[in-house]
């Protein structure tokens, strides 16, 4: 009968729609796909190409150790950074290198260098303290995220999934080190005068700022309204470089070799040697955050 047919069709349509809706919601509610899970896909199983010899630059030694660490499973390595405050001269090269590497816009900084002055003339000392993300083993920033956009990767580096982040800044508020900043969408060349006839005018130079960065192993073009604009951002130990066998940019740039990086699970690594010395400290240890950045004093 017509009425029954209509009812059947309606029921079928309803079931189809409901099925589609359930499938849609299931797809949405699935665990967000991580941009970069680890450096597992990096240079594993590639042959070692570098060698270090007695008396070689620590950069070469760390490079060799990095290659060695990348042969291991991700959860078997433990990336740490060691900053020797006695060697830091406060040149800010690491800050600038980080800005260049990650194409950081105004207002976003991953590795500022803090300056402290102690005493009264003539007994005055100055101290420079670079402050990357501490990559805490017990990070206060991750549990507060309402959408699990920030998490600790299997190698222990705290990461941000830019496409998952809703920009609530709860993680920035929770960080005891002020190590996160919010990207409000600025560029350095905004408002700069456009001078015709110059070899490199504003538009040419601005192209550099619009070029993508490669954080977390993915290209992030700087486009209005899309991530990482509107997100929390932070230092990630240059995972995208590490996964390609390169040291973090701040380490590679440090003119005094004050910043060291490596696998603390490797008993022969430089960082292991350093963090077991007695003159090592970590910032705000009383907070129980277990930072992976060590300072030598």
């Amino acid at each position: 009968m017509p009425q029954t047919d209509t009812a059947t069709v309606n029921r079928r349509d309803f079931l189809k729609s409901a099925g589609a809706a359930v499938a849609f919601l299931t797809a949405l509610s699935a665990e967000p796909e991580r941009v970069i899970a680890s450096t597992a896909q990096a240079v594993n199983n590639k042959p070692l190409t570098l060698e270090s010899s007695e008396g070689a630059d620590v950069i070469v030694r760390m490079q060799v150790e990095l290659q060695r660490a990348l042969q291991k499973k991700p959860d078997e390595r433990r990336w740490v950074m060691v900053i020797d405050l006695r060697k830091c001269v406060g040149c800010h090269a690491c800050t600038i290198a980080c800005v260049a590497e990650n194409k950081l816009p105004p207002g976003v900084v991953y590795r500022p260098v803090m300056e402290e002055e102690h005493g009264v003339y003539p007994l005055v000392t100055r101290r420079f303290i670079p402050r990357p993300c501490m990559q805490c083993d017990n990070p206060p920033c991750t549990p507060v995220c309402p959408v699990s956009a920030t998490y600790k990767g299997e190698e222990g580096v705290v990461q941000i999934d830019y496409e998952q982040c809703i920009g609530c800044r709860a993680c920035i508020t929770a960080c005891p080190y002020g190590a996160r900043t919010s990207d409000f969408g600025y560029t350095y060349l905004e408002g700069a005068p456009v001078a015709d006839g110059l070899i490199a005018g504003q538009s040419f130079a601005a192209g550099y700022e619009r070029a993508p960065n490669f954080e977390y192993g993915k290209e992030w073009a700087r486009e209005e309204g899309s991530s990482p604009i509107g997100n929390a951002r932070k230092c990630h130990f240059c995972l995208h470089r590490v996964m390609n066998g390169m040291l973090p940019e701040c380490v590679a740039t440090c003119i005094g070799r004050a910043t060291l990086f490596g696998d603390a699970n490797d008993p022969d690594s430089l960082v292991t040697e350093m963090i077991h010395r007695p003159n090592v400290m970590r910032l705000k240890e009383d907070h129980g955050t277990e930072p992976r950045v060590y300072y030598m004093v």
């Binding site: 919601l25 949405l28 509610s29 699935a30 665990e31 967000p32 800050t95 105004p106 207002g107 976003v108 900084v109 500022p112 260098v113 803090m114 300056e115 402290e116 303290i129 402050r131 206060p140 549990p143 507060v144 995220c145 309402p146 959408v147 699990s148 998952q164 982040c165 809703i166 920009g167 609530c168 800044r169 709860a170 920035i172 508020t173 929770a174 960080c175 005891p176 080190y177 002020g178 996160r180 900043t181 919010s182 990207d183 409000f184 969408g185 600025y186 209005e224 309204g225 991530s227 604009i229 509107g230 997100n231 929390a232 910032l283 907070h287």
Partner: protein, 378 residues
């Protein structure tokens, strides 16, 4: 007369707010003054404020629909309507604060329930549904078991959501000013006080109960508002005196910022004098306390004091840098600790206040089940 004034003020506030809504929604978040150090600003404070009124109004509605206290008979539906209107206002202000507000659906479909923020989003959504359901039942004049069950669950949620707001701040162990066990315990009291002040306004200005009961109701609600305001002052004393005495630097700096900082005038002038002392002066003069216009004004002052109090909880804790030398180490937009809301932030705030005011009065005038007994104060 008062309604006309409120219609005019609400419309003007909304008009001013249009600039903020347009700028925030179509241009972006750049013109705000909060940032990477003072991460939460006026909009978060207003979220706490509106959420406090909403949950507080719901608590008061239970005096009518759950506990059946005769003095409050007939006020429940007006309180529920207030709760329903102010909750979206709270969510609007907090929504504007998000860097990617278009991704809010992720909190529903991909939540991290260990996060208090996610718990709050879910809790407030459930609370909004319960408030709507309560109002629906109230419209039908129902006071049966089903209504009471809803009100019990709603009351439970109202208390815990209020406390949750305090916990949202208090769990940040790095902020000494917030990280006190008492903070989540204080917020339900703040909510109840906000609800009382709101009730003073609706009874005093809109005359939602018959004349014979009105002056007695105003007196009781006024008295309770002042008592709760004094409890709030006691909490302040406990927090501030302990902080200063113990001398933890970050905590002391934050307290000093409130008491003697550049915006101390807001604390002393608006929160203490206007929001606490003036209501006491009104209360001790029975003629004023039982007068609708004065009682409503008293409620408005108390609410203003609570808005400032919320700001004085949020901003100072964030204005103390996490590490010495951090602020000077790198400069740029939104990297400073001296916070005062920008024009955009004020605009959105006024817009939301205007919208909520207009929505509430329009409901009183246009919704049949609310307009029946509503009379503007002559």
């Amino acid at each position: 007369m008062i309604k006309k004034i409120l219609y005019t003020l609400g419309a003007l506030a909304l008009l001013f707010g249009l600039y903020g809504f347009y700028t925030r929604l179509f241009i972006g978040e750049r013109d705000v003054n909060y940032g990477s150090y003072v991460t939460w600003g006026l909009w978060v404070a207003m979220y706490l404020f509106f959420a406090g009124i909403s949950t507080g109004a719901y608590m008061l509605a239970t005096l009518d629909y759950l506990f059946g206290i005769s003095l409050f008979k007939g006020t429940g539906k007006y309180a529920l309507w207030g709760a329903l209107v102010t909750m979206p206002a709270a969510l609007m202000t907090i929504g504007m604060d998000l860097g990617h507000m278009e991704r809010i659906w992720k909190v529903y479909l991909q939540p991290n329930f260990f996060s208090l923020l996610a718990q709050m989003v879910w809790g407030y959504s459930l609370f909004f549904v319960l408030t709507a359901a309560s109002l629906w039942f109230a419209m039908q004049g129902r006071r049966d078991t089903a209504m009471k069950v809803i009100m019990v669950v709603g009351l439970f949620l109202a208390v815990f959501l209020s406390g949750g707001v305090g916990a949202l701040l208090g769990i940040n162990a790095n902020r000494a000013y917030w990280h006190v066990g008492l903070l989540p315990a204080q917020f339900p009291v703040f909510s109840l006080a906000s609800g009382m002040a709101f009730m003073l306004i609706i009874v005093g200005w809109f005359g939602v109960v018959e004349e014979a009961r009105r002056s007695q109701l105003l007196w009781v609600v006024g008295l309770l508002s002042v008592v709760l305001g004094l409890v709030k002052v006691y909490f302040l004393w406990a927090d501030f005196s302990q902080s200063i005495y113990s001398g933890i630097p970050d905590n002391v700096k934050a307290v000093q910022l409130v008491l003697f900082g550049p915006y101390a005038w807001a604390f002393w002038g608006l929160q203490i004098v206007l929001g606490t002392a003036v209501p006491i002066i009104v209360l001790v003069q029975p003629n004023l306390a039982k007068n609708g216009a004065w009682a409503g004004l008293m409620g408005a002052f108390i609410l203003l004091g609570f808005a400032v109090a919320r700001a004085n909880i949020v901003f100072p804790a964030l204005a103390i840098p996490e590490l010495e030398g951090l602020v000077a180490a790198f400069t740029g937009p939104h990297l400073n600790i001296n916070y005062f809301p920008s024009l955009l932030e004020w605009s959105v705030t006024f817009g939301v206040v205007g919208l909520a005011t207009l929505a509430y009065i329009l409901g009183l005038d246009r919704l049949p089940f609310l307009s029946a007994k509503t009379e503007a104060t002559k």
